[in-house]
């Protein structure tokens, strides 16, 4: 069941009931209208003031250091996010980054580098690209023939690398390195039976292609570089072999070396010799070695220069933490050095010298990396780098070494360590961390913003009120003591201000740590809790973007889905805030809970319920237990409900309120939406079911309204001073369907508005000749959705607004069960002249500020589009009344102004989600856009009407005040003199 939907539905919600709201309506209208054309733009001096961006690349698959010159800082990386980038190896910043399309078509198969050029094979061998690495410009691009990619190699002739060879499943092609033009392409012999996997060239004018028929024999084909003529072809028996790629490598002057776990042997075979027709077997026993059972031995060799044969030294990995450096000499394999235990080993070359770096465990929290010369296995002195493992992180799993020659001709090196949790750490001797990148953040799945706690002193005061009264005198004493603490804190603050003022400005910038975190006056600074696909959690300060805590959850399945729930906010001191992460395996549906403190990132000691059955739905109730934690209900596939926390108090409350707790389930494979009611014994009963025939259309998304959304005004004032009341049903669900028929004439997008308590279909609409992906926002009394109009090939926005009419049925309480009149539905559609990545709406504390839609565009910009433009009451013909209401006349095309891009040139690549949170200021909404990058900013949809402007002219206002003051004084004096003179006259 792909449906993974959550919702909290209670039957009755008290609507904010007031007529004073009407006054606000007018104010709000005035605000929104007067600011229509300038709203939400960025001033140039605001750049970087409250916004920040962090750019990521993803999990590194290939990393190459530029070893051409000593001063080069370039580090080229290709990642699983289809990103090819150049990093500054001194700082970890990006020089440039190229983001290709997502999915297998942009997948980077391999990265090769020679000189200033980097050759990349993209899209399973579809494209061959060469990049100029200093500028980051494309040199050339060629389309290769179809066929799945196997391997690619640089081919050198007489010490010069001139070509690149690409091996496909059934063909091999050779391309010129400087222009990309194809020199020749040849079909591989017997490609239907032989799996060709490896390509090798040692610079002697020949290209070897190696294939294997599993458990039978190896095929070696020699091609001449000039014209692709087959010089030789032979097959060698190798019954034990299943794959060349995993078990073989090429060492020395073209000798194939393979390792086999079952026979506990190494096998060698010279590629070129005609006489040897079978592989020579070397038992590992003769070398006193043994491969750990069940472990596929790994061979690592190095070919420093593609125009030269590889070195004869190689690493053999016998178990996950045992490497051995071996050498092939005179047809004999001899161990050079045994590294036991050792986690990782890698070769690196600088100039003529090749070294091997080996990471070995030092103690529980640290590893040491040492450098050894490759040809002798001797340890280089004073080359130890201590790598401290993050106790909240994962184990290191890749080691990239950058070796360089020092002035005294000794070899120096730096290493980049990649860990399971996708942290890149760049270290230099003797263990200084030069930079660190948290690449897990390139794949944020979900996030929440949590208010920061009060400072110690504020909390102290709060705590005073929270405790039980214990007599008059102690209370007075406590009061006095807390006042004294406040005074002390204030004096300390003043002293700090004074002290800082004397220091130069640059040194004042103090580091933000968890201990110094506290809520600011307007609650603008919050803790961003981010959950990433790799299972790493982050706590990020929203003001600066500093990572304050991180926690790697091990054993997370790669296809897990996450749901983050804030159960208790920081408002309930001394109870710590509490977040719950529900981790669900997509295939089995089995879930587990992880409870933690969102401010400090520590795992909470609270016992979590075991979840033996797949979880279908969760809902967070407004019911709280005695510790102020909201109750989370988990519904399993047998419609049984588990409550968390499940104390007696909670169960009692649930029994009392069970009859008004409803929830819904979505089964998109059967097109079934069903509503349930909770029973007193925590079982459930089915009360409604809506079936949308799955053969015709499939449910793609279901969304309710956000629980923390406030609607300030209950209606809209019309031009004739009457009020059009909004249909504010908190239980309304918006269901989006797409047709299964994708033909452009017959495809359609459907939208259903369904009451989640009664199952009543409030409205349905169909957009013909339209297809997804549909992005939509459901808020207040409106739904805005975007679809692709396949007839006119453009994106269209459509807005649905629901109104009760001129009279409110029951103005105090909204009940789904008692709404006899269906709402009036207004709809209007507009053309949106750009593609769309994601859609979200701004959110403010009280809902007085006008709403904006935040549209993430594929170009990386985030557009803040006033909701006023998406108003189904926009008139075609302007009338007196519509002018009175400040309705914009209808125009089919939605405007896109560059001033509405809230992130100016700080584009967010592949924006996947936008998170909005209210701040303590009504005018301000906090926005986080995440995708490959993370961008945080604040938006002011109705301008900053509740704070003074940034450029407020204090000098002018004070000079005017003083001027007036002195003018009065002087004129008073003059008047006195005049009076006196007159009296004398």
């Amino acid at each position: 069941m792909p449906g993974w939907l959550f919702g909290s539905l209670t039957a009755e919600h008290c609507g904010s009931c007031s007529s004073a709201a009407m006054a606000w309506l007018v104010v709000r209208l005035a605000i929104s209208v007067s600011l229509l054309y300038t709203a939400s733009a960025v001033f140039e001096d605001q750049v970087g003031k409250f916004d920040w961006r962090q750019q990521f690349i993803g999990k590194v698959r290939f990393a190459l250091f530029d070893t051409q010159s000593q001063a080069s800082k370039k580090l080229l990386v290709a990642t699983d996010k289809n990103v090819f980038a150049s990093l500054n190896s001194r700082t970890g910043d990006l020089f440039w980054r190229h983001v290709d399309k997502t999915g297998p078509e942009g997948h980077i198969d391999t990265l090769l580098m020679y000189g200033q050029d980097a050759v990349v094979v993209v899209g399973n061998g579809r494209l061959l690209r060469s990049w100029e690495t200093t500028v980051g410009g494309l040199k050339w691009e060629t389309v290769l023939d179809t066929g799945s990619f196997q391997a690619a190699a640089l081919v050198g002739v007489q010490d010069h690398v001139k070509y690149v060879a690409v091996l496909k499943k059934s063909s091999i092609s050779l391309h010129d390195l400087s222009s990309g033009s194809q020199i020749w392409v040849e079909n591989l012999p017997d490609s239907d039976t032989v799996q060709y996997q490896t390509i090798y060239s040692g610079g002697n004018g020949l290209v070897f292609v190696l294939g294997v028929v599993p458990n039978s024999h190896i095929v070696i084909v020699e091609y001449k570089i000039e014209d692709g003529e087959i010089m030789n072809k032979k097959s060698v028996e190798a019954a034990w072999m299943s794959s060349l790629e995993t078990s073989c490598t090429i060492i020395s002057s073209g000798i194939l070396l393979c390792a086999d776990q079952i026979t506990q042997s190494l096998y060698t075979l010279p590629l070129q010799s005609a006489e040897q027709t079978e592989m020579r077997q070397i038992h590992l026993q003769t070398l006193d070695l043994e491969v750990a059972s069940g472990f596929q031995p790994v061979l690592t060799s190095t070919q420093p220069n593609p125009a030269q044969p590889p070195l004869s030294e190689f690493f053999l990995q016998l178990s996950p933490d045992h490497h051995i450096l071996l050498q092939l000499k005179d047809n004999l394999i001899a161990p050079l050095r045994d590294f036991n235990p050792s986690y990782l080993a890698a070769f690196a070359t600088s100039g003529e010298r090749t070294v091997a770096a080996v990471m070995s465990p030092k103690n529980d929290t640290a590893c040491s990396i040492n450098l050894f010369s490759a040809d002798t296995g001797r340890r280089h002195l004073d080359t130890t780098i201590i790598y401290h493992m993050d106790p909240n992180g994962g184990k290191p799993n890749r080691l990239y070494v950058h070796a360089f020659l020092k002035k005294d001709d000794s070899v120096g090196y730096r290493v980049m360590v990649q860990t399971e949790d996708l942290t890149l750490t760049f270290l230099q001797q003797p263990g200084r961390v030069v930079w660190m990148r948290e690449e897990a953040l390139a794949d944020v799945v979900t996030m929440e913003m949590v208010d920061l706690p009060f400072t110690g002193t504020q909390a102290e005061l709060e705590g005073e009120f929270g405790k039980k009264a214990d007599g008059l005198l102690p209370m007075v004493l406590k009061r006095l003591s807390s006042q004294f603490i406040l005074l002390q804190a204030w004096l300390a603050h003043l002293w700090k201000l004074f002290y800082d003022a004397r220091k130069p400005r640059s040194s004042v910038k103090n580091e933000i740590t968890i201990d110094t975190l506290s809520r600011d006056e307007f609650n603008l600074q919050k803790m961003m809790v981010m959950v990433t696909a790799s299972g790493k959690l982050f706590g990020i300060d929203s003001k600066s973007g500093t990572i304050l805590w991180k926690q790697y959850l091990e054993n997370i399945q790669p296809n897990s889905v996450f749901k983050l729930i804030v159960q208790r906010t920081t408002a309930h001191f001394p109870h710590p805030p509490q977040c719950t992460l529900l981790i669900k395996d997509k295939d089995t549906g089995l879930g587990s809970l992880y409870v933690f403190n969102p401010i400090f990132g520590k795992k909470s000691q609270i016992g979590v319920p075991a979840l033996p059955r797949p979880i279908l739905q969760t809902l967070l109730l407004p019911v709280i237990d005695q510790d102020y934690a909201k109750v989370l209900l988990l519904i399993d596939d047998q419609y049984k409900v588990t409550a968390f926390p499940s104390t007696k108090n909670v169960l009692q409350q649930l029994q009392d309120t069970a009859s008004s707790i409803f929830f819904y389930l979505v089964d998109s494979s059967q097109g079934k939406l069903s509503g349930f009611r909770l029973r007193k014994d925590l079982s459930t009963e089915l009360i409604w079911e809506v079936v949308i025939p799955a053969e015709v259309q499939k449910i793609v998304a279901v969304k309710g309204k956000r629980a923390n959304e406030h609607v300030h005004s209950q209606g809209r004032v019309m031009g004739d001073r009457s009020v059009l009341y909004k249909y504010l049903n908190p239980n309304l669900l918006a269901v989006i369907t797409e047709s299964t028929d994708t033909h452009q004439e017959r495809s359609f997008v459907g939208i259903f508005l369904i009451d989640g308590v009664t199952g009543r279909i409030v409205h349905e609409a169909v957009q013909r000749k339209a297809r997804g992906p549909v992005h939509f926002v459901h808020s207040e009394n409106w739904v805005v959705y975007v679809y692709w109009n396949s007839k006119f090939r453009r994106n269209e926005f459509s807005v649905l607004e629901l109104f009760e009419g001129a009279e409110l049925y029951n103005s105090t309480v909204f009940s789904s069960l008692d709404r006899p009149h269906p709402p009036q539905v207004l709809q209007q559609s507009y053309i949106f002249p750009a593609p769309i990545s994601t859609l979200e709406a701004t959110l403010t504390e009280k809902g007085i500020t006008s709403r904006h839609l935040l549209v993430g565009l594929p170009s990386g910009n985030i557009l803040s589009l006033p909701k006023m433009f998406l108003d189904p009451r926009r008139p075609e013909v302007v009338s007196e009344q519509s002018r009175e209401e400040n309705l914009i006349p209808y125009a089919p095309e939605m405007p896109i102004r560059e001033e509405w891009f809230i992130n100016y040139n700080q584009t967010v690549s592949r924006v996947r989600g936008i998170y909005t949170a209210p701040s303590g200021l009504e005018s301000t909404c906090l926005v986080v856009a995440y995708g490959l990058d993370i961008y945080q900013t604040r938006v002011f949809p109705s301008k900053q009407f509740d704070v003074l402007k940034d450029d407020y002219d204090y000098v002018l206002i004070s000079s005017v005040l003083f001027g007036l003051f002195f003018a009065t004084m002087i004129s008073k004096r003059l008047a006195e003199v005049k009076l006196l003179n007159r009296a004398w006259r």
Binding site: V99, D100, I761, T907
Partner: protein
């Protein structure tokens, strides 16, 4: 159960404000569409062109720019000389844009037929079938910098003084304060001048004049003051009672 909402007003305005119900959008035959139907056979072509930013070296902007076809459905990159190719594009109609955080380019619609023929035309989202051909291979020229920022309202004395509100407030104030001082009704010179101007204006009968009203308003009942003559103080006291009067007097001098 009431399945459908009672009143559904849906307005989808397409070509020239055509209103129709969203449940029932009329089918409209468009021969453009027949031409660019989804292909059965797999035709993959290269879209190529060249992007130019006049006066800027290609190295300075190409690394942050991308060529996007219909969002990021297909992505191409720029070469050092500004040229680009987007490879492996199946037939269809696409909007090609160059996305650069600094420079702005006009998007172009590229149509690829099932046989692999290509043409480029101006993007028009409202009249989608309108064809205004553009050269192919594409020539993308930068049309300026992105203007992300709006200028701050700066405060200046001139802005302040020229503000209509200020003008409305200050000018009457000045008139009330200064007029009695400047305009001395007992000054015979002034008076004569007034009369002259009045005569001038009277010749121009159809226009009632402010200065006339002013004089009537401010001058005391006609009694004394014709006696005293004399040339003297003319210039400095000639401060206009009202702009209009001043203007008319100047005219008279001419």
């Amino acid at each position: 159960m009431n399945l459908r909402a009672r009143a559904c007003v849906s307005a989808l305005l397409l070509f020239g404000l055509r209103v129709c119900f969203s449940q029932d959008i009329k089918l409209q035959e468009d021969d453009e569409d027949v031409m660019f139907k989804t292909p059965e056979e797999d035709v993959r072509v290269q879209v190529s062109g060249r992007a130019l930013v006049p006066g800027v070296r290609a190295q300075d902007w190409i690394s942050s720019a991308r060529v996007l076809l219909d969002g990021d459905k297909h992505v191409g990159f720029l070469r050092d000389d500004g040229s680009f190719t987007v490879s492996d594009v199946p037939s269809g109609s696409y909007v090609l844009e160059i996305s650069s955080p600094t420079y702005r380019f006009q998007p172009v619609r590229v149509d690829i037929t099932t046989t692999g023929k290509m043409r480029a035309r101006v993007v028009n989202y409202i009249k989608t079938s309108e064809v205004i051909r553009l050269p192919y291979p594409l020539q993308m020229r930068c049309v300026g910098l992105h203007s992300y920022f709006i200028p701050r309202e700066t405060w200046g004395w001139s802005d302040f003084l020229m503000n209509p509100m200020v003008l409305m407030m200050v000018l009457p104030l000045l008139i009330i304060l200064l007029l009695p001082k400047v305009f001395n009704p007992s000054d015979p010179e002034m008076r004569r001048e007034m009369e002259q101007s009045m005569n001038m204006l009277n010749s121009n009968q159809e226009l009632p004049d402010v200065s006339e009203l002013m004089t009537k308003f401010f001058s005391p009942p006609k009694s004394q003051g014709k006696a005293a003559g004399g040339g003297g103080a003319r210039g400095p006291r000639g401060g206009a009672p009202s702009p209009r009067a001043g203007a008319s007097r100047r005219k008279m001098r001419d």
